[in-house]
């Protein structure tokens, strides 16, 4: 029983990273800006978030710093793409490289080499009255604030895309920016906003990695999760309700791979650790037919 609860709660923790990141990617992608730079944002916000949380002793300020760094990356992406019409993928790749350099540099300059790795302040756990006292359920429900923030973000995103006028317009921009422009939607401004807010969400996920999961910062902490989240966004056909499914799926695979690695003696552990990466490819192969893309992804918008 404890195995199952620990499996579920661990999965939830990793699913938070995957889901928040892919929600951020989806928001930009829905307006036509494909945020390939997610991995770079995760790294940069992990280091910024950790350093700020560590220095201030306040977890919340750490997450805000992570979100702000994410927003800054989003702004650079939207600005260079919309103003200079540079290919989004090239920009994204450069930003990934930029983010990975920035993360280690920041940590080296501000924290430096210590004998014992500095610890981040603790993120408070949500306890729901009555339910939290029941043995098995409490293991599942007693999660930190950011896990609940992730659920909230999924619900808000769903409501936004399907029930609000702005959300429908956002989807319209992704499909046909010219038509959206004709009916009076400010395409450029929406693209900026969506990319910046989306990247801020990715920034929260990035700060979550060192502050809540590992407690310390280490180089290359995101370990490819930014790119796997792109896989999730594509697999989800840019729908938030499917992104959380994908998030849990990949998180589950990751946690299982960890567990199997510990149990198995005959198969070298490296092959279990390959599982998450291989399953991204397998899942995308299986769901090839169901995958849809917003039509204007990758193209800068101009009125002529």
């Amino acid at each position: 029983m404890t195995f199952i609860t620990s499996f579920i709660s661990q999965t939830m923790v990793y699913a938070t990273v995957y889901t928040l990141t892919s929600l951020g990617i989806i928001l930009g992608g829905r307006t036509g800006i494909f945020n390939i730079s997610a991995e770079g944002i995760l790294l940069a916000s992990a280091s910024t978030g950790f350093v700020t949380a560590y220095l201030t002793g306040n977890w919340l300020i750490g997450f805000i710093a992570g979100a702000l760094i994410g927003a800054a990356f989003g702004f650079i992406l939207a600005f260079t793409h919309e103003t200079f019409k540079v290919n989004q993928f090239i920009l994204g790749i450069i930003l990934v490289i930029f983010g990975s350099g920035l993360s280690d540099l920041l940590y080296k300059i501000i924290v430096g080499v210590r004998l014992s790795a500095p610890q981040a302040p603790h993120v408070p756990t949500v306890t729901i009255p009555f339910l939290s006292k029941i043995p098995v359920i409490s293991g599942i429900l007693n999660q930190d604030v950011i896990v609940y923030f992730m659920y909230f973000a999924v619900i808000i995103s769903y409501w936004f895309y399907y029930k609000t006028k702005i959300g429908l317009e956002t989807k319209a921009i992704g499909e046909n920016p010219k038509a959206a422009d004709v009916v009076g939607v400010n395409v450029k401004r929406r693209r900026y906003l969506a990319t910046i807010i989306g990247s801020a969400l990715i920034g929260v996920a990035g700060a979550y990695l060192p502050i809540a999961i590992t407690g310390t910062y280490s180089p290359d902490i995101s370990a490819g999760r930014g790119f796997m989240a792109i896989g999730i966004a594509i697999f989800a056909s840019w729908k938030p309700q499917r992104a959380i499914l994908g998030g849990f799926l990949f998180a589950g695979i990751e946690v299982i791979a960890f567990q199997l690695e510990l149990i198995s003696a005959n198969i070298p552990y490296q092959f279990f650790l390959m599982l998450p990466f291989v399953s991204v490819l397998i899942i995308m192969m299986i769901f090839k037919k169901q995958i849809e893309f917003p039509a204007s992804v990758g193209k800068p918008y101009s009125r002529e």
Partner: protein, 355 residues
Amino acid sequence: MKKKNIIQKDLGTKLLRSLSVYGLALLIAFGLISIIIALLGFSVPEALKTLVTTSFKSAFGFQETIKKTIPLIFTTYAFTIPFMIKFFNIGAWGQMLFGGTAVAAVGLLIGNFGLPSFIMIPLLVVVGISAGGLWGWFAGFLKAKYDINPIISTIMLNFVAVLFVNFIATSPTFKDPLEGHPITRPLPSSATLGFFHGIPYSIIFAILAIIFVYILLKKTKLGYEITSVGYNLHSSQTYGINFQKTIMLTFLLGGALAGLGGALEVMNIHGKLIEGFAKTSGAQYGVFGILTSLVVAGSPTGVPIAAFFMAVLLVGADALQRTMQIPVEMVFLSQALIVLLIVIIRKKFEPNGGK
């Protein structure tokens, strides 16, 4: 006569334009770097001097530069060739690792047979090329048959390759029992290449690769197909060029070159497989290859020169860390910044060129 003049004039303005692109980008970038260095409390003139001149001040500096140039040429080609048809091979890292690992494993397995160098070395080179090529081709295959974005597939394959290196370097069959870090036993001397006055012999393979790529792209039907798909996908398909095949071929070629780069690192620089061998100055050769390729706008002819200049900066970055304690990431970050500026400025000057 008149026609020739127009062409010359065109070439002149083109040259002037690209010179001004690089000049302007470098000026802004060095300005920014100077500001950051000054903010961090280091001496700006000294840092800039170290960054640019270390490669040319001593024989050691120059040898180091060549050692870094060789793998960079391979990883830059690995990105450039698929980029010619507008696909992104982020997997040079993994392809290099896979090539190097295969070479180490095969080299150690057949090492006891006592094969002479003239069999061993060509054999291992072929193994490296095939392993890297296979790893690259697979990403192309996933794009052609399953429409999986190569950015994602190549990254996933990178991580698999990293774990594969760890598997080989820690397995009892190959691991050096005296080492704590995952490192294999040294390759037999018949499988390693030497140095000529500090310059690795792998430079011969790099020169051969440059000639090969040039001939392939400029003089063969296949090269023509790649170029025409890059210029205009639609019309190239009308003329019967198989797009799916071209995708797989460009990734195969890119991966094979990166694999050769990895093989040569193992056979020449290290003489064994060391975990994390495809890294230099704080990041992977694959990443620097991407940056180098973007500097020359994915044009294959500019690759060797650009790789050399990138290597000069990397040697300078190492020296900065050694002598002034400026973290290597600082230079790495600035390089990403410079490339971003070059890409933007180029777009501004030549709106239709530069991809």
